[in-house]
Amino acid sequence: MNPYFARKFVIQGIFIATALILLVRLFYLQIVNDKYLLSANNNVLRKILIYPARGVILDRKDRILVQNEPVYDVMVIPKEVKPFDTLAFCRLLEISKERFDKQFKKAVNQSIYKASVLEKQLSAKVYAAFQERLYQFPGFYVQNRTVRMYPDSLAAQFLGYIGEVNEKAIEKSNGFYAKGDYIGISGVEKSYEDLLRGQRGVQNLMVDAFNRPKGHFAEGRYDTLAVSGEGLKSSLDKELQKLGEKLMNHKIGSIVAIEPATGEILAFVSSPSYNPNLMVGRQRGNNYMKLLNNPYKPMFIRPIQAEYPPGSIFKIVNALVAQQLGLINPSTTFVCGGGYRYGNRVMGCTHVHGPMDLSQSIQYSCNTYYGYTFNRMVDHAGMRSVEGYKRWQAAVAKFGIGSKLNIDLPNERKGLLPSADYYTKRFGSDKWTSSFNISLSIGQGELGITPLQMANVMAIVANRGYFYKPHLIKAIGAKKVVRKEFTERINVGINSAYFDSVIEGMSRVVNQGGGTAVYSKIPGIEMCGKTGTVQNPHGDDHSVFVAFAPRNNPKIAIAVIVENSGYGATWSAPIASLLVEKYLRDSITRPQAYMDRISNASLLPAVAKPITKPKIDTLKAKLKAKR
């Protein structure tokens, strides 16, 4: 027996102990600690989000207003980045080293295990060059996305724009949105977001250590397809819109054109406009700030957000309401001696019109006539003036004035139609009479009406007593669904017979010598219209023109406002007449010079201040005669 025989046990013991240590370690790695399984999945699995294409938006004749264009986001998982040629990388992406450092640091701060966007929206060209050498940059990959593209750069305020979803919206969406998703922020993009956005898909790809895809995890069992967003067919007429935007070049104002028989909006111009393509791509942030700081406020959606005292066009409403109340009839005549006297004051008229009947009062826009009419409706209605005012106000409100029309765009304003209580409070007693707010008779004073509401009033007149909710989206998706609320006829409570003499007066405005807009007569088309001038305490008055055409079986109702351009007949009426002709005839008979004069005219004030609310003190102000 070897003397040191017992030592074999020591050696055996060491061997066994070592094996046990290894097994304990294995037990810890493989069973106790699940960090390693997560890391393994992180190593191998790439969740590739498949972003759905947003719905395309067409015009009423199926011409594209906005479509999608592929772009490529460069993603990075900092943990997997291995040393690489940073300079070559930056050159490929066309970014500076500083930019790269900044973005990379941002990604690291976010999470070293999760993918973050390093550089957004590469063009197809940059992507192609980058993709070829992607294998040299482990930890980086490219994610396909689509962005909006506007082939004609039209209707920016209507279409709105999309942007990355913010934290608040992510929280509110209950997990539908994730960081980096796009969401509609304004315009149709916002109001129809639920339909346009579609549904994200996910691919679980496995990649190797060099980030090369190696197939789908679990044969694609956990993958989902992206579902594209619904397409929308808008009611806009692209050609009409284009012409409208051209004519409004270098001017502040709005055009709204409505098809009276449906409430479909044919043109929706907010001027100054901007190129919607500016709100896409890597320069979006800069462009956005520029637009925001532009003194002419291109981001302001004037057709639904600018509120103006309507001026003379409001006489149409008063004429209709007064007839319905039985206080005047087409042959009611007031004599204009150059103004309407109330107490010891006078609301002046532009001319001494002499005796005027209803149609003439519209034709010549006689202030005196409406002073008397308003006086009858408020003070001589067989009730106290406050009650008379209330009845008048209720009748006017039915025209959609003073409340939202609930157009399918966000951020619509309701305008202003003061209640009787407002005046009672203001004058300290309810003993007030029409003398206290006589300017309402001619559309001045405490009134605020948006261009949309003006156009809608025209649609009501064209329809002789009813309207459909004005809307911009005609049909939704492949099935061409029309929202039910847009098919409901809304009556304004005016007997259709009462429209005759008003329409006659409006026709003469355009078509008969002595009418205020006779220079905007369209050969061969009987357009009925009404000019107006909106007092502007900040500068030149605003020019307004509302119209519909043709007189029989009207196809288009329109409102045009050009700020700071003086009388309605000067700029607004010609613009409206060109659009009406374009829409009805698809061509323009008047000479090109006529059009060029308008589109080339620059009527921008030194610094524009859009009117949002009428000034209260206009009551006390000397009332100028308005046409």
Binding site: N2, Q12, F15, T18, L23, L26, Q30, K82, D208, K214
Partner: protein, 420 residues
């Protein structure tokens, strides 16, 4: 002749043979899985690692049979020659060697590369066995120990010159052989203490450590006042330890290469470097850890298949085992090795000749060292040391080296009743 051969094969230890075969097969399957590329399909291809390993396995088998049919005296008689050739090759490799991964450890031979350090292992074991079995240890203990240390030291020095720290380290395991043959147990204890002190020196500040040691020594001295014979060892031990601490510091800062320092720092958690030195170990732990209890299944591993683990068919082959076969598979592999090691000790102890016994312990020590360092490395228990897992890792030199190592023992064992 026929009868003699029959008895040899009859006497060969079947258990060891079975363990050897099992490990080789496990190795080949895992190399196959590590290299497997689902896109290219699984056609058998001699150009791939698993194809080459297949050839290595067959040649290793032939080599094993050749060893078994050789005359048993051949190994003891020619052990100095083997040793001499190994030393020569280790010298040659320093001159003509191919530099792979920072180590000049390979002699190119046609399309293959030979790693002399693998063959130095069995040669050193043989010559050590030869020397110790004839030396008169009891009379001149320290002389013999020094001579034995020199036998081990010469190849270690040459391998360190390559510099292949990992392979050199495996020779340190031969301390078990010396211990079994009478070396003082203090060496094992000192060795262990040395490792502990080494780690503590790197983790703690020197002053804290030295003050701590002095306090402990002082405490011990007050406790053993009436046992004077303990005084000297404690004082000497403390002084030795303090010197050791300074030498560790010196070695660490001046002798170890930066990448060694990094590896040690990563292991000790002093630095976290998941993209540099820490990458291998981290990915290795991820691969093993992601296997969970049952593993992902053969060819289902993603970490190794998709190249996240470096050296996945050689030094880090155990990752594939851990990932695809899980804790169960790892348990089996660890179990097989432990079984093999204990079996080798069992075999060694049943030898009548001390030459065979000492050689057996040499085999066990070297296999143990590889087993522990390789698995410990993949699990993040020891610093990254590039040494293969015997019989499992891809590679001809290592497979042949270990086969020769083991089969010489089997040959000696088959003849255990005879006299060498």
């Amino acid at each position: 002749m026929v009868t003699k051969q029959r008895t040899i094969f009859f006497n060969v230890d079947k258990v060891t043979l079975a363990l050897f075969a099992a490990l080789c097969i496990i190795g080949w399957l895992n190399i196959y899985a590590a290299v497997f590329d689902p896109e290219k399909g699984n056609l058998f291809n001699l150009g791939t690692n698993y194809g080459k390993q297949f050839i290595f396995l067959i040649t290793a088998g032939i080599l094993g049979i050749l060893i078994l049919v050789m005359d048993v005296k051949f190994f003891s008689t020619f052990s100095p020659l083997f040793y001499g050739v190994s030393i020569f090759l280790l010298l040659v490799v320093l001159v003509v060697g191919r530099n792979v991964g920072g180590n000049q450890a390979w002699i190119p031979l046609g399309s293959f590369r030979l790693q002399p350090s693998e063959f130095a292992k069995f040669a050193t074991c043989l010559v050590l066995a030869q020397f110790l079995s004839t030396a008169t240890i009891k009379n001149k203990a320290w002389q013999t120990t020094l001579q034995a240390a020199a036998i081990i030291g010469i190849p270690v020095g040459l391998i360190l010159a390559q510099p292949d720290v990992g392979s050199a380290l495996t020779f340190a395991s031969l301390i078990f052989v010396l211990y079994r043959e009478g070396l003082s147990g203090y060496f094992l204890v000192f060795g262990l203490l040395g490792i502990v002190l080494f780690i503590l020196t790197l983790l703690l500040s020197k002053i804290v450590l030295i003050v701590g040691l002095v306090v402990i020594a002082g405490f011990l001295l007050t406790q053993i006042r009436n046992k004077k014979q303990w005084m000297r060892p404690i004082v000497l031990g403390t002084i030795g330890s303090i010197l050791f601490i300074f030498s560790v510091d010196f070695t660490y800062s001046n002798i170890l290469k930066p990448h060694h320092r990094n590896r040690i720092d990563v292991l000790l958690g002093k630095v976290e470097d998941l993209r540099g030195e820490g990458y291998n170990v981290n990915q290795s732990k991820i691969a093993i850890g992601s296997g969970r209890f049952w593993g992902k299944g053969f060819l289902q591993g993603t970490q190794t298949k998709y190249d996240f683990v470096p050296e996945q068919s050689t030094d880090f082959i155990f990752c594939t085992v851990g990932e695809e076969w899980g804790f169960v598979g790892s348990l089996v592999v660890v179990g097989l090795y432990l079984f093999l090691l204990l079996r080798i000790i069992f075999i060694a102890e049943r030898q009548r000749s001390s030459f065979s016994r000492i050689y057996g312990y040499g085999v066990a020590s070297i296999l143990f060292c590889h087993f522990f360092l390789n698995l410990g490395m993949t699990m993040g228990l020891v610093p990254v040391i590039g040494i293969p897992l015997p019989f499992i890792s891809y590679g001809g030199s290592s497979l042949w080296g270990f086969t020769i190592l083991l089969f010489i023992l089997l040959r000696l064992d088959a003849n255990r009743m005879g006299i060498i």
